[in-house]
């Protein structure tokens, strides 16, 4: 790379105070280097905000605009308290997957931190948002802000028409089911949010007519009633919010729209949940590479690069399992180490790497890195690229915790026999379908009491948490008729876990 370095005659000021002019200069240099590494981004919109505004942004899940809900207020109060008491520092930045890509920079950052953040968010995350396949399939960056604007004014209108409490009830229930409002396997279609608004009215009427069709009580022609004996839904439904939006018998059109809004927002965040390690790793890798590149060019001072490295090492630090500060695997650390390692495998592969990664050892590192970023999510990324070297670096080991065993067992460690196992176990740790309970709608008694049956299929015999009764009430609120939750045991038998409303249990059975 050294041959490509342009030697700077003058260094950029290292502050520590920043000015807009200086930010502009740094931004320009970073952009140039990012382009050199072929980072393809949305246009950047960089906003400077104060810490108080940062707290605001925190509470609305980072979105610049969102509908009103008490839970955001709670989040705000929480972060405010934690921040004021010094339990928590604020993030240096927040970046939004939108086009143009909006990043928030905190006013109190030094120029070094601002440069770090610009490289990290405006070029790292930004290029990830634009090119990773999950984001490309699931989100539409150009319309999210429009959509949230639509959602907010729609919900405000509902509040005026039907009262804050009515709206809040539905939103509470929707939020509770938010994680079950995503199609995991089906690819969603993209809709421009302006169209959304136009279509909303039409949909309202159409939807209602469909629902009425389903719940028609006046007898139709004979053949048709027979047809309806067919099991409904024909296949188990994993997207509960979607199912309710389309088929819940008692919801008013505006309530269906609220379900839809929460579902859409949930879908928008779905890729982020699945690409934490990659996304943070990618962004960290690039802030590290870009700023070092600037240093190699002689554009930034030593003071700058030392301050940067100080922050960088703090961000990518992985505390060991028995450290008081340990709270799971640090996605920044793992992702950064892996991307760095991929480059190493490409540039300087040793025997081991050639054995483990014959397809990338010795290949062009930049191509390989881009390919890895574009085509994987955390789970597949780890199972594809976690190398023995990184496993050794992190000293990973697997702890087996089986309910029927009285003791916990270490099944594999960072040695030759353990690499494969650890790689596979760690990858599945990032598999959302193993982290989130698998609950699907299996049956609706269309001709009878309209009751709804959900089925929980435990993964590795892990039972549901203690929120079941509360959750049942939320589901019941949306469905409007009896709701039953079954658990499918290993032997194939179904056991009833809960029922809402519970008091009718005996009479019904």
């Amino acid at each position: 790379m050294t041959s490509n370095l342009k030697k700077a005659t003058e260094t950029l000021s290292d502050g520590p105070e920043w000015t807009f002019d200086l930010l502009e200069q740094y931004q320009e240099e970073i952009r140039r280097v990012a382009e050199y590494y072929r980072l393809d981004t949305y246009p950047n919109q960089i906003e400077i905000i104060t810490s108080e505004q940062m707290l605001d942004a925190y509470s609305s899940v980072g979105m610049p605009i969102n509908y009103h809900h008490w839970s955001f207020g709670k989040k705000f109060i929480e972060s405010e308290q934690n921040y004021k008491r010094g339990y928590m520092g604020l993030a240096y930045e927040i970046v939004i997957n939108s086009d143009p890509c909006i990043s928030y920079l905190m006013e109190e950052n030094t120029i070094t931190m601002q440069a770090l953040v610009i490289a990290h968010a405006c070029y790292g995350h930004n290029s990830f948002f634009k090119n990773n396949y999950l984001f490309k399939t699931w989100t539409d960056a150009s319309s999210i802000i429009d959509y949230l604007l639509f959602a907010r004014s729609y919900i405000e209108e509902c509040e005026r028409k039907y009262g804050v409490e009515e709206v809040e009830e539905i939103l509470d229930s929707c939020h509770a089911l938010m994680n079950l409002g995503v199609d995991r396997y089906k690819r969603p279609q993209k809709i421009s949010m302006f169209e959304e608004q136009k279509r909303q009215k039409e949909r309202e009427e159409y939807l209602q007519s469909q629902v009425n069709q389903l719940w028609r009580t006046i007898p139709q022609k004979e053949q048709e009633t027979k047809k309806k004996k067919i099991k409904f839904p024909a296949e188990p439904q994993e997207n509960i919010l979607y199912f309710f939006e389309k088929h819940a018998p008692l919801l008013a059109p505006w309530q269906r729209e609220l379900l839809r809004i929460v579902r859409k927002v949930s879908q928008y965040f779905y890729p982020q949940k699945q690409t934490q390690v990659m996304n943070e790793g990618w962004a960290s890798y690039w802030h590290y590479t870009i700023l070092n590149h600037l240093f190699d060019e002689g554009l930034v001072t030593e003071r700058f690069i030392l301050e940067f490295l100080h922050s960088h090492t703090a961000v990518v630090y992985q505390p060991p399992y028995n450290h008081p500060g340990y709270s799971g695997i640090n996605p920044y650390a793992l992702g950064f180490a892996m991307f760095k390692d991929i480059r190493r495998i490409c540039e300087n592969p040793d025997e081991e790497d050639k054995r483990w990664f014959p397809e990338i050892a010795g290949k062009d590192w930049l191509d390989t890195l881009h390919y890895a970023m574009e085509n994987f999510k955390d789970e597949s990324f780890i199972s594809q690229y976690l190398s023995p070297k990184v496993i050794r670096e992190f000293k990973l080991f697997n702890l087996q915790d089986y309910e029927q065993n009285p003791m916990l067992e270490i099944t594999s460690i960072h040695n030759e026999q353990g690499y494969q196992d650890i790689r596979q176990k760690l990858a599945s740790q990032y598999n959302l379908s193993m982290l989130e309970p698998n609950i699907q709608i299996t049956n609706v008694d269309v001709n009878g009491d309209r009751s709804l049956t959900l089925e929980y299929v435990p993964h590795n015999n892990i039972p549901l948490g203690e929120t079941v009764p509360e959750m049942m009430r939320h589901i019941y609120r949306l469905w409007g008729f009896d709701v039953r939750l079954m658990e499918k045991r290993e032997n194939g038998r179904c056991v009833e876990l809960a029922k809402c409303p519970p008091e009718k249990k005996e009479a019904d059975d």
Binding site: I46, S59, D401, S412
Partner: protein, 424 residues
């Protein structure tokens, strides 16, 4: 392709609505916390915000999540001692580790949810559903206050009151009205001139004639002034009287030797509540402190609460003094009079009937509300019995016995709860 936006001057209270939603939703829990806090709150602290904590189990947002148990594998970093096959004891506390790290935020055993609310929010919650008894507007003869308010526009006024938008709008309308016809004519003439220009063998004289006319019209259009004094509009202001409601609050307290500091502190809390409460209903509120042992004296707040006295107790002296002050300074026709008396119940036995007489004949006739709190754990004495008989006769008299600090707030609420008419 990047641009910077300085958002630092934008509003920072984007979350205010959500915060209010949160307070509204958990009003009942917060109110309970507020009620608890009044008994702990330092008496001198009436300005600062209040820390509230409500149990976090009440405010959680449930989701379906995996519970304890089942078979799990966890990959952890930083192996420093383990080899494959090592077995270790399950960490105590329910048989297993916290499962996947993410699930712990819905786990049990969390601390209370703590946050602070502002003084205003605090008082709102504190006095929610409370109402002043016998709230009548007393004649505001003494000082009539005026408030200035906007009322439309007028054609004359002083320059500072010129409404620019209005004036320019009028000017524009006038200009349009005065020039529209001329402009139409001008356009026609210009079109005609155009066609004449194209026509090679057009009449030269006609052309000059039209040119003249155009010039004349342009001149006249130009003559219409951009703005005329006639266009000017001034904002108009009017005055109206505002009803002012004045209140005076009498704090009567026994400071004889039998009242110790703790008892006085309790009384003080009651006065603070009453003061804050009245403060929300009346714009102008004065407080008169009267302390007494065998003699009564009007004092300032500091002396009222903190100076030490000894000696016996004659309650009627304070009532006498109050009556005097009212008749000399606070005529009942102009002031809403409230009185709160605190005592430990001690009184010279033969003074109690005198107190009763004073109250019946004078004070209760002009006070909106007279509350008596007796701060004692002992059995009641003559004063209490005397007052009990008054309590049954008068609507605007109330009495309660306070045993400990935490009684104060509930009793205060009972005094001022909304349906004041239902008195036993």
């Amino acid at each position: 392709m990047a641009h910077f936006i300085d958002r630092r001057l934008n509003g920072k209270n984007k979350s205010a609505v959500n915060r209010q939603r949160f307070l509204r939703r958990y009003k009942s829990q917060i109110k309970k916390a507020v009620a608890d806090s009044i008994s702990k709150r330092s008496v001198t602290d009436t300005e600062s915000s209040e820390n509230i904590s409500i149990p976090s189990r009440d405010i959680k947002e449930p989701i379906f999540h995996q519970g304890k148990g089942g078979d799990r594998d966890r990959v952890l970093p930083g192996n420093d001692q383990f080899s494959p096959g090592d077995k270790i004891k399950r960490p105590q506390g329910g048989g297993q580790g916290s499962g996947s790290g993410e699930a712990s935020d819905s786990g049990e055993g969390q601390d209370d949810f703590n946050f602070s609310i502002s003084m205003d929010e605090y008082l709102n919650l504190l006095f929610d559903d409370l109402e002043l008894p016998n709230l009548q507007k007393t004649d505001a003869k003494k000082e009539v206050e005026w408030e200035t308010f906007r009322s439309g526009y007028k054609a004359e006024g002083i320059p500072t009151n010129i409404d620019i938008v209005r004036s320019l709008r009028g000017a524009q309308a006038r200009r349009i009205a005065l020039t529209a016809a001329k402009k139409r004519k001008l356009k026609e003439l210009e079109e005609e001139l155009d066609s004449l220009n194209k026509d090679k063998d057009a009449d030269k004289a006609l052309k000059t004639e039209i040119l003249h006319q155009i010039e004349d019209l342009q001149y006249r259009i130009k003559k219409v002034p951009f703005i005329d004094t006639f266009d000017l509009r001034y904002r108009n202001y009017d005055k109206r009287p505002i009803p002012s409601s004045n209140a005076v609050m009498f704090c009567l307290m026994d400071v004889s030797g039998s009242m110790d500091q703790a008892t006085k502190e309790m009384a003080k809390r009651f006065y603070i509540l009453l003061y804050q409460f009245l403060n929300r209903s009346y714009e102008n509120i004065e407080v008169v402190f009267i302390r007494h042992h065998t003699q009564a004296k009007e004092v300032d707040e500091q002396e009222f609460f903190y100076s030490q006295e000894t000696g016996g107790t004659i309650v009627s002296s304070a009532l006498h003094l109050m009556d005097e002050i009212v008749s000399s300074r606070y005529p009942a026709s102009q002031w809403n009079i409230y009185a709160a008396q605190a005592s430990d119940g001690d009184n010279w036995a033969d003074d109690s009937p005198k107190c009763g007489k004073l109250l019946r004949e004078k004070i209760l006739n002009y006070t909106r509300y007279y509350s008596y709190i007796e701060i004692t754990n002992r059995s009641h004495q003559t004063l209490w019995h005397e007052y009990e008989s008054i309590d049954s006769e008068y609507e605007n008299f109330a009495m309660k016995n306070i045993k400990q600090a935490s009684d104060i707030y509930p009793i205060f609420r009972e005094f001022f709860k909304k349906q004041v008419s239902s008195k036993s």
